[in-house]
């Protein structure tokens, strides 16, 4: 089962870390952009190539020390079809380096539409009997607002192709309180209600390490809520955004570890891929990937101190 494999890889690397691959043109070294723009013009195809070259550089330098990467599809989707192609190529390259890929897509829609999204992102594309050869993510993120019949259509692909999901429960942003913190008439916040639902939805898919293939997104920026959710959801593996650039630190995650079984994987995006511009690590832009590696090791030390 996929979550078992992910946890084993976390144990091997001793790094419960996923590197967010959310490329932004403004944050990519000039020398990469100059070369490719000169060759291909200021086109979406050029940006797609720039993103791929940048991601490949990062992946080459971190694939031996982390278990997973998480491309944020919005950054690619912004550049249309060419961008989406860079997203898929990034997945393919990361998997060729034995990294797990969490596709951060946060989709959600009614059942017949969810089937299409599932095929798009974790399934197999069959065109009039011809199976298409293409890479898809190992896990994707989903939004829960529309309820279980929006999640269920993904489960067939999870079972058939050994894939997994992370459903939003308590997100890292400030406005997560607008809906997620509203108290129900039982006196508990909506995020706790959603946590109970996600935990229940995941029960039929629990692996040998005790965690379900349906995980939850729980932000590092809300440590008290995260600890509460850890108790409500003992069989749910957490994807934790909000570390680093968004303000969360190793200390905030103290109450969440579950010994050698970890129980979560923590994401950092800009804090790693933009490390060369932070002044804390290698600062030459040609060493952006080395700086990323140094930032991963720094994050690992920060997490370990509180594990």
């Amino acid at each position: 089962m996929l979550t078992d494999s992910l946890i084993k890889k976390i144990q091997e690397t001793r790094a419960p870390i996923v590197v967010g691959l959310d490329p932004r043109l403004g944050q990519i070294p000039e020398y990469i952009k100059e070369t490719i723009f000169a060759e291909m013009g200021r086109t979406p195809q050029a940006v797609a190539e720039i993103f791929y070259v940048f991601n490949k550089g990062i992946i080459d330098k971190i694939h031996d020390i982390v278990p997973a990467v998480k491309p944020q599809i919005a950054m690619y989707e912004m550049y249309g079809a060419a961008g989406l192609d860079a997203y898929t190529r990034t997945i393919e390259y990361a998997q060729s380096k034995r990294l797990f890929v969490i596709g951060d897509v946060k989709r959600s829609d009614i059942a017949s539409t969810a089937e299409a999204y599932s095929t798009a992102h974790i399934g197999q594309l069959n065109i009039a009997g011809e199976i298409q050869d293409r890479a898809t993510a190992n896990f994707i993120t989903l939004s829960p607002y529309m309820g279980f019949d929006n999640i269920e259509p993904y489960l067939a692909d999870c079972r058939e192709f050994d894939k997994g999901l992370f459903v939003l429960v308590k997100t890292s942003n400030t406005s997560s309180r607008d809906i997620q913190d509203v108290l129900t008439n039982d006196g508990k916040p909506i995020y706790a209600h959603v946590g109970e639902l996600v935990s229940k939805w995941g029960e039929p898919l629990i692996g040998e390490m005790g965690y379900s293939a349906i995980g939850a997104v729980v932000g590092a920026t809300h440590p008290d809520e995260a600890v509460q959710l850890r108790k409500i959801m003992p069989h749910t593996f957490f994807l934790v955004p909000g570390y680093g650039a968004q303000g969360g630190s190793g200390k905030d995650l103290k109450g969440l570890w579950n010994g050698e079984k970890y129980g979560m994987i923590v994401n950092s995006s800009r804090g790693i891929t933009g490390a060369y511009a932070s002044g804390k690590f290698a600062t030459n832009e040609k060493e952006f990937a080395l700086a990323a590696r140094e930032a991963v090791l720094d994050m690992k030390a920060d997490l370990e101190a509180y594990m």
Copy 2:
């Protein structure tokens, strides 16, 4: 303001109808598929062309009697970059026929990511100073679970490029009750709480017809809840899915009209684009677009009877 323009077009056509362009390979006439597969093979590129030809056929036959179409991006995204290209070409063709386009994308993410989605779907793409020429939807749908800082980044593009949003409030599917119907400690359901938020978020963008550029998605399958939301959200224009194939009828929408200002636009997808296979309209598959036109006129009569 865009919602004003949409309402004027509804008044002109007397059809508060949006035609869902959600192509599924299994529902497209054989003669279209045969020709294109023979030429291009069973490839994503061929499916993209099939979808575009099918959509173009529908648009040519209905553009004079409805104000808008709503492509569901999942159906295109399933076919990767080629599919996304068919989505964009469909938007472009529909707009060339003076139809408004509602991109059904249901995206949502933290602010920095929402900016990328906004650029992707309603904004302008600027690559290192070069503005890219491409079509984007007039409106898009968004999911509210992560709160206002996930919606706010779209407002700049709404203002600058005269675009609009529809935020999910009470969706048409059965499991919408899992979260949306949970009662808060004030005794009201979450969908009512979200309705109040969406109404408040939309206040700065109210047009001369009295409706905001931030609309709401309210399902036809929950008529009592919809009437309640109509009262809570007097300045919010509704996008109403769930009519036809999903079970909603004109009668269910009785309490929702607001005279000549309408107050909502009702979506039908399969009920219109798949009408040739229903036995109720033109049944020759070569007349799929004529059947769609007949189904639109039938739906119009059903809605008018209760307006």
